[in-house]
Amino acid sequence: QEINPDVEVESYTMNITTLQGFDSFKSSLQAPDGSSRVDLVLSCVDNYEARITINQVCLELGQVWMESGVSEDAVSGHIQLLVPGTTACFQCVPPLVVASGLDERTLKREGVCAASLPTTMGIVAGLLVQAALKHMLGFGGVSMYLGYNSLKDFFPTMDIRPSAACVNPLCRELQRREEERRNSPEARAAAEAAAAAAAAAAAAAAATPLHEENEWG
């Protein structure tokens, strides 16, 4: 707040995974009419339980959020954009180890705790803030998923579609509603109008000659 007095900081220190914590967290996001009073939630937690909790609260509020994480070996990380009903929710895609049936023994070696590198964390934090700026200010593109592999300097991006078989019933319901909304007459008409406008603009651009004069032609 000393750097920018226009920023308001409200601080809540608690465990959001308990019943009381869940309710406190959810109501801290709500305006008096129950809808969300924030444009974006950024998750910077370090455990699965808290992420599931944030996922549930955001599904219940229809809240767009971004999740961030760093791997247990500290050399890779990722950020993810989650739009309830449109993108995958956090439970749509089970953790790699469950989905691939990998033996959990391969996860961690005995006696070793998770590694952490402040450099990796700093980079992922930078990516997250960058994505937040692009999302809120409407410039550039925000990937649904942006990864960072520091060993190879590789930044993969991908789209993660919602799963029709998501274990979370609210996610499935929101997907259904989004599908309905997209197929509604108004939405279809709007999409067609946009496509027609784009085609018209392209045709207009093609119709005008590239060069008014051409001394060789």
């Binding site: 995974t17 308990t18 019943l19 914590g21 869940f22 309710d23 699965y48 339980e49 599931i52 909790t53 549930q56 439970q91 089970p94 953790p95 180890v97 469950v98 959990e104 023994r105 996860l107 961690k108 005995e110 006696g111 705790c113 274990v167 979370n168």
Partner: protein, 166 residues
């Protein structure tokens, strides 16, 4: 921690009834149904333990089943070490497992988080995710707390951070 589930744990957990009601503490009526199944599984598990002379814990819920407390014990070299434990049912249960705490042991082992929450990640969480919602409190105790005690109590006794009262 152990490389894998030991055969005895595997055998035991298979005998604990699976829970079928997928609901958490925010679900009002259906939570009551879930609680009935939880208590049934716990009673079955405790009965099994008493019959095989391996009774190792007692447990009590609060009025709405959202906070549980109990005592657990582990025998090491003929001495019984007993500890209090507690946990809350998380809002997103049963997708997320409860985090069992032994507050009196906080700081005595690296395998413990702030507040005395026992460190379980290696085998426990993937197994819980795979089996959710069929695992309940009895399974969490059998697969989480019991192996933790088996690994940590001997270590803590040998490193002198806990002492017998005798």
């Amino acid at each position: 921690m152990a490389e894998s589930w030991d055969p005895k744990t595997r055998e035991t957990v298979k005998k604990i009834p699976f829970l079928t009601e997928k609901s958490g503490p925010r679900d009002k009526q259906k939570w009551q149904d879930r609680l009935k199944q939880e208590l049934h599984a716990l009673i079955t598990y405790i009965k099994m333990n008493k019959e095989s002379d391996t009774d190792w814990f007692s447990i009590q819920p609060n009025a709405d089943g959202t906070h549980w407390t109990g005592q657990c014990w582990y025998v090491h070299e003929l001495i019984k070490y007993e500890f209090d434990f507690q946990f809350d049912i998380p809002a997103t249960y049963p997708d997320t497992a409860p985090e069992i705490e032994l507050p009196e042991l906080e700081g005595k082992t690296a395998k413990m988080y702030r507040g005395g929450k026992i460190c379980l990640t290696i085998h426990f969480k993937p197994l819980w995710s795979k089996n959710s919602p069929h695992f309940g409190i009895a399974h969490a105790l059998c697969l989480g707390l019991a192996p933790w005690l088996a690994a940590e109590v001997p270590f803590m006794v040998e490193s002198g951070v806990i002492k017998a009262k005798v």
